[in-house]
Symmetry: C2
Subunit: 351 residues, 2 copies
Amino acid sequence: MRDVRLVLVGLGNLGRRFCEVVAERNDRLGHRYGLRLVLVGAADSRGAAYAPGGLDFQAVADLKAAAGTVADYPQVGRHGWDALALVESAEADVLLEASPVNLEQGAEPGLGCIRAAMRKGMHVVTPNKGPLVVAFQELHDLAKANGVALRYDGTVAGGLPALNVGCRDLRGARVAAIEAVPNLVTGYVMDMLAEGIAWQDATARARSEGVLEADASWDLDGWDAAAKLVILANAVLGANARLEDVERTGIAGLAPATLQAARAAGSRYRLLARAVPGPEGGYKLSVAPTALDSEHPLGRLGRKQMGVVYTTDIYGTITMIIDEPSPIPSASTMLRDLLDIYVDDTSTLVS
Amino acid sequence: MRDVRLVLVGLGNLGRRFCEVVAERNDRLGHRYGLRLVLVGAADSRGAAYAPGGLDFQAVADLKAAAGTVADYPQVGRHGWDALALVESAEADVLLEASPVNLEQGAEPGLGCIRAAMRKGMHVVTPNKGPLVVAFQELHDLAKANGVALRYDGTVAGGLPALNVGCRDLRGARVAAIEAVPNLVTGYVMDMLAEGIAWQDATARARSEGVLEADASWDLDGWDAAAKLVILANAVLGANARLEDVERTGIAGLAPATLQAARAAGSRYRLLARAVPGPEGGYKLSVAPTALDSEHPLGRLGRKQMGVVYTTDIYGTITMIIDEPSPIPSASTMLRDLLDIYVDDTSTLVS
């Protein structure tokens, strides 16, 4: 049995649910993969806790579910101890960086934690788009220089392994185009508008259901989709793209009548992210609300569904769709990425 | 630049097209991955050729496109030299085993070639279902004992990386069910029947277009789908299943009126392969023609499309569909598998 010592930064929706998932199946992971996940440290915005013998995954999840802080963890919690200090002082194998996207602040504190972890020889797993958007190449270079893994499958389209397929299973191909619907809330709002619900009521409903964040612009103006497209394009296409390279149109300017007419014609509007060949080589990146008819591979996405389509020269056209009724799949990408680092069972899969 | 020396057994649709694909992009693979694929040996049913310095990929493809044999390869071709003798005598790194499925003959000659290659320390890549269906566990044990990779992503649903996603990206999850439409020709024939075309005309048309093999029973009676389901269940679910464990219903007994009524109601019949929890634990495996309504994730598959749906506890429900207009994606799975063995760029993807 091998111990894998984890530091988890960020205990919001993703970090907390990751703890719940592991609490419920850590024994099973040991049995199946010979690994025991040990949470030696955890940090949220109010403090941190560190215990070389391991924090209890469920106890951490319970503190957060009760709107508390891991700083209140019995004995080893400390108020005001920040994530970076935890990462720099902890003895651990992997940083799980799950703090919120924060592009305004240069993707901090996530970016700084990731850099510090890799310099210490820790592997990094993160579903946080910010650091990858701001410093994609730098972080890959740093991982290589330090001989550590950098995994971020959860940054694009939640629990759908869109990046993993794009990076691994399309090797050897020329990718002619990528189309993706990587954001849930914009589809939900546009569906409500198409049903005749007013903009203000639709966004209020999305907010009350917790699917629209306080900073509504991040979703509704297409920043979230654009950030995901940048990561897809860089990882799969080697595009070396930045956020400002994306031609970005949000959904706020859409006329309800347009949405209603599309619906009547059997189409659904989705915020479509596209990478297509550019006029001067390379790829042209765009995000825009787009009417998708029912024959489009992503034309029948429901409220809780995201998808990606890869058009390739030698692997045909591959469509992947996830139905994701809760944040658990997104949170579980950290488990997927962790196991991908530590398990090599592709020749020996039979349990 | 690293040379990867290949022996290719089987030069039918898949083997020949693999040669074409590599001929066209070997330079690019070198530039991108630092690998040079060298075809040191190739065998078909009439003979073989061996050249330590490498056969020309395009020349091999051309011989086969002209209905010839690699035994006629200038200087180094030999009539009557069989695949097993080639594998046993060749100095090579990887066996690509692409001979036809042959369950009647104990999956020979593929199985014997795979065993011989692994015992010599060669990695094995194969899109041939036969050896995996007949000897799944034995071959995985043999790979482990010899420290070699065994890759067979092309055995299920052509160029769709269904196995790769199931084996790697679902790690840590409980898989509640698998549904797959892994066979093309049965869907095509059922679509024709639903359009009112008679059984004899529909199968004749499929045969004349080259999509129905000489042994029509393999497809139409569901053997092909059942074989793929066994591989999926064993690889993804650890089910330890055999072909006779699949409750198998082919499409021959379908009443045309049933198909036509389903079509009128907006459904499409497909030969659906399913693994669902069994009454006494484990999984129940079945293959049967099934009406899929348009809301089913696989309910709108076109003539050249296959798909798989994984229902999981922590990664949501993941649907994958491939549109595969030619045999090239299936053939290219050998390139995918090869690169998966030799390339480790998941931390360092930027080209």
